[in-house]
Amino acid sequence: MKPGTASAACIALLRRDLLLVWRRRGDALNPLLFAIIVVALFPFALGPETTVLARIAAGTIFVAVLLAMLLSLDALFRSDLEDGSLEQLVLSPHPLSLLLGCKILVHWSTTALPLIVVAPLLAQLLQLPAQVLPVLLAALALATPLLSLIGAVCVALTVGMRRSGMLLTLLVLPLIVPALIFGAGACNAAQDGFAYAAPLLWLGAWLAMAAILAPLAAAAALRISLT
Amino acid sequence: MADFFAMHGYAAYVWPAYAVFAIALIADAVAPVFAHRRILRDLAGRLRRAASRKSP
């Protein structure tokens, strides 16, 4: 008899969830498409003037990426709840926070990572100055995991509800205001020639804290919603 | 007195602020009173129905 180890469980969970995303890869593209469409709408609303677009580029991309991720957050535990996998997950012998951490990692790497990859394209659409692009990518790389982590806590709280979309938005958005402020703020500072390290460091510190606390909080929240 | 209510031209800002404060707090204070009555009424109705079901 071989009892499962925590690392084997994490690997099994990561493999299964990535495999599931791969099998439903059409759905996985939706957030990407959403972000591109949202960004493409702005020039229609504001006119194609380069200076105007460049001014709002970083903020627009940030908002579009966060909204696109929010759109996909709802599904984080939905299918697991519907087919009973979530029950099995909660009952598994391993720390639930660790397992949820794996699920959050999968969420981030399958929704945020593609968004970061297309961010240069979005930046080009909105005429973001080339020297700001690295700052934008760094800020996105730090801010998107925060959304996955904090979002997971909120999803865990709303997991049993049939229509949680609007409520989830209401729960998540106030909590991730700082990510938007620091992330887009760093880009704006870089664009205006100011120092941009401080907000990025703040994001990093917050991310480090959230990476530890959020999975624990998500596990506790999930236990509350399931019992 | 009229001077007091005029607030030296700031009446349009000062009095609405106090009005909002008063309205919000009165609404907040009244809501539980009505809820309290409604619950007791509902409960009494439920008990009456239960009693009439037992002894028709």
């Binding site: 071989k2 499962g4 969970l13 493999r15 099998r23 087919d83 391993h94 236990r223 | -």
Partner: protein, 215 residues
């Protein structure tokens, strides 16, 4: 050593004046029973009598209103119990996009595996030889249930909590469940089964616990 002896004699699972309430409304209780190695116990009750809820309370998914659940004589905590308990609910916990084999590999990755068995062997013993790589979506409800039963065979859990294990199964499937239970009991395991009574055991007479909603 005395501790070991004590745990030896303590029942695998014990419920002591267990009650459960939802929104302050009593669902069942008080319940007293114990399960020793080799026991297969049937919980009988009508729809809505709280059978599924009881299994969830015993597995630690739901919290009892009062009373206690003891596992090997020690109070139940989620972390401890889950090594030894396998729950099969109405929802099977299987992914329809994945094949039977992929589902089982995930289960063994999560919960470990018994010695002397492989996912392939488990599938063969529930009569699904040749369906290893078919996505679960293409299988029938009964066949999916069999995959879930194969998971029970693989995962090293001494206590099985089975919610309506006979549902969706044909004659052969019902026999299969009985054979698995028999095997499990002889191996020193124990099982708690719910049923609303439509299915009869084909072999042996298990202990029965009637469950009635408390008025």
């Amino acid at each position: 050593m005395s501790i070991a002896a004590e745990t030896e004699s303590a029942p695998l699972l014990q419920a002591r004046s267990l009650r459960f309430a939802r929104n302050e409304e009593e669902i069942f209780g008080p319940l007293d029973f114990s399960l020793h190695p080799g026991d297969v116990v049937l919980i009988e009750g009508d729809n809505g009598s709280g059978k599924t809820t009881l299994l969830k309370v015993l597995s630690g998914l739901l919290e009892a209103k009062s009373g206690s659940v003891l596992l090997h004589g020690a109070p139940l905590t989620l972390a401890k119990l889950s090594h030894q308990v396998a729950l099969l609910g109405h929802l099977l916990g299987l992914k329809l996009e994945l094949s039977a084999l992929e589902n089982l590999r995930f289960a063994t990755g999560m919960g470990g595996i018994r010695s002397g068995i492989t996912p392939q062997l488990a599938l063969a013993s529930v009569g699904l030889e040749g369906f290893e790589d078919a996505p679960l979506r293409t299988l029938s409800a009964g066949q999916r249930k069999r995959v879930a039963l194969a998971r029970l065979l693989l995962v090293p859990a001494a206590l099985w909590l089975l919610d309506e294990p006979y549902a969706n199964l044909d004659r052969g499937g019902i026999d299969l469940v009985n054979r698995l239970l028999d095997h499990h009991a002889r191996r020193g395991g124990a099982a708690l089964i719910t049923s609303h009574g439509a299915y009869a055991f084909t072999s042996g007479t298990p202990r029965r616990i009637p469950l009635r909603a408390t008025a």
